[in-house]
């Protein structure tokens, strides 16, 4: 273990760290928005669209991100759609994430007592009003822990971007190991970098779970 090796690699790792954070943030944000839209479509059983969304969800949840990325990055150009590695990464993680987030939101919605929806209908609320005044305010809080757990999962999944050569953390470590063979130093830096991102997130998740539990059950 050499301090000098670590110091020299630090600028590269810092760059990769920032890129990992950026890609994670964009991915999680897009996945949450898209996932909420899908969950609402499925919750309100919009004809056709809800079946399409269900199929999309099953397809993406039951296949690895790696093969989804390969399909986007290497497969799509042969039918004339060429995307940069980073664009593929963002599209891939957002779609995969949306499929997972939709599940999280639907789980939250399913906790809303049926009487709430029935009352809203009896009051003559339109579907949009029901979404705004009943489903979202009661469903979102319940979804928070599952959404946060998915966010952590998605941050970890960004490590797979290395297969299409996006210079994020894992890719940087692999490159450096390939060039200089200092495995101990680079692996340590890699683990530490992920720990810096993920430990606070996971602590936050635990606190959120406790908070929502208290909010819902009062204990």
């Amino acid at each position: 273990m050499s301090w000098q090796v670590i110091q020299q690699a630090l600028p590269l790792f810092r760059k990769a760290f920032v890129l990992t954070l950026e890609l994670s943030a964009i991915g999680v944000a897009l996945a949450t928005i898209l996932g909420l839209a899908i969950a609402l479509v499925r919750e309100y059983r919009v004809p056709v669209a809800s079946q399409v969304c269900a199929t999309f969800e099953e397809l993406l949840r039951n296949t690895p991100l790696l093969i989804q990325l390969f399909f986007l990055y290497y497969g799509f150009p042969s039918i004339g759609i060429k995307l940069s590695a980073q664009a593929c990464a963002i599209i891939g993680i957002s779609l995969l994430g949306a499929a997972y987030m939709s599940g999280a939101f639907r789980g939250g919605f399913s906790g809303i007592p049926t009487i709430q929806v029935e009352s809203a209908k009896a009051l003559g609320l339109s579907p949009l009003q029901m979404i705004r005044h009943v489903t979202l305010p009661q469903g979102l809080t319940r979804s928070v822990p599952a959404v946060a757990a998915n966010a952590i999962f998605l941050v970890k999944e960004t490590s797979v971007f290395t297969v299409i050569a996006v210079p994020e953390l894992t890719n940087t470590a692999r490159d450096l190991i390939g060039m200089y063979y200092r495995t101990d130093e680079y692996l340590l830096m890699l683990v530490v970098a992920y720990a810096i991102i993920l430990i606070p997130l996971s602590v936050m998740l635990t606190l959120l779970e406790r908070r929502v539990r208290r909010g819902t059950f009062g204990d």
Partner: protein, 242 residues
């Protein structure tokens, strides 16, 4: 000859040019063989990981603070570090520490096995503590010792919660085997890449079809598992609510 004539004819009909390579020669058998490699690695990891995880999970309900902290740390390590990074850690460190050559398959089984054990330990712990406290008290009143309580009271009443979670984990492990090409295991994706490489000239558009097909293969394996888990989950929920 005839084949190449058919080939050139089909490249003209660009729409169906690529998919034919999936079925030429023994390509399909090779792809399925690669899939078998992936699935059997996942299977072995589960075979080793599940019993270990059950033991660790049972230990985690004991009130020994040191044991609890150590096991919790073990779980959190596997939860926080991406699986790909864990795979690399084992790939680079294990052979050196043991002083022998270890192939990618073995490394994958060890790394995935320990990961499975960590996840299962949390599933088992969660299920075991979901058994109502009065059941435990009743068992104690009958004079049962700790192991008897576990075997006759806690396990039978919580196993229906453990099974669906374990099946879901199995599907996740199978999907994660897709990472094995990064530690030079010849899995289904590597076989696909070899096929594309061999047909680069005749079928430049083969990537779409080969990767699409591998995507489908993973789906065919994992989707039924997800469906079974969901059905069992629903049944467990209904039964537990009376």
């Amino acid at each position: 000859m005839v084949l190449s004539a058919i080939d050139s004819a089909s490249t003209v009909l660009a729409a169906d040019a690529g998919w034919t390579i999936l079925f030429t020669g023994d390509n399909l058998t090779r792809l399925l063989g690669g899939l078998w490699t992936s699935v059997s690695i996942a299977g072995l990891a589960l075979v080793f990981g599940i019993p270990l995880g059950v033991v660790l999970g049972a230990l985690r309900i004991l009130r020994n603070p040191v044991l609890r902290a150590v096991l919790r740390l073990y779980l959190e390590f596997f939860r926080i570090i991406p699986t790909l990074v864990i795979l690399f850690l084992f790939y680079y460190i294990l052979p050196r520490e043991m002083g022998v050559q270890v192939d990618g398959e073995t490394i994958a089984v060890v790394a995935f096995g320990l990961w499975v054990a960590a996840e299962i330990s949390d599933v088992v712990r969660g299920a075991l503590i979901s058994v109502p406290e009065h059941q435990i008290d009743a068992g104690k009143a009958l004079g049962m010792n700790g192991l008897q309580l576990l075997w006759y009271v806690r396990l039978p009443q919580s196993i229906n919660l453990m099974v669906p979670a374990t099946i879901n984990l199995a599907a996740r492990v199978i999907m994660t085997t897709s990472l094995l090409l990064l530690i030079s295991v010849i899995d289904v994706i590597t076989v696909g890449q070899q096929i594309m490489e061999a047909n680069r000239m005749a079928h430049p558009d083969s990537a779409f079809w080969v990767y699409g097909f591998v995507f489908l293969l993973y789906f065919i394996v994992c989707w039924p598992l997800a469906m079974i888990a969901r059905a069992l989950e629903k049944r467990a929920k209904e039964r537990n609510n009376g």
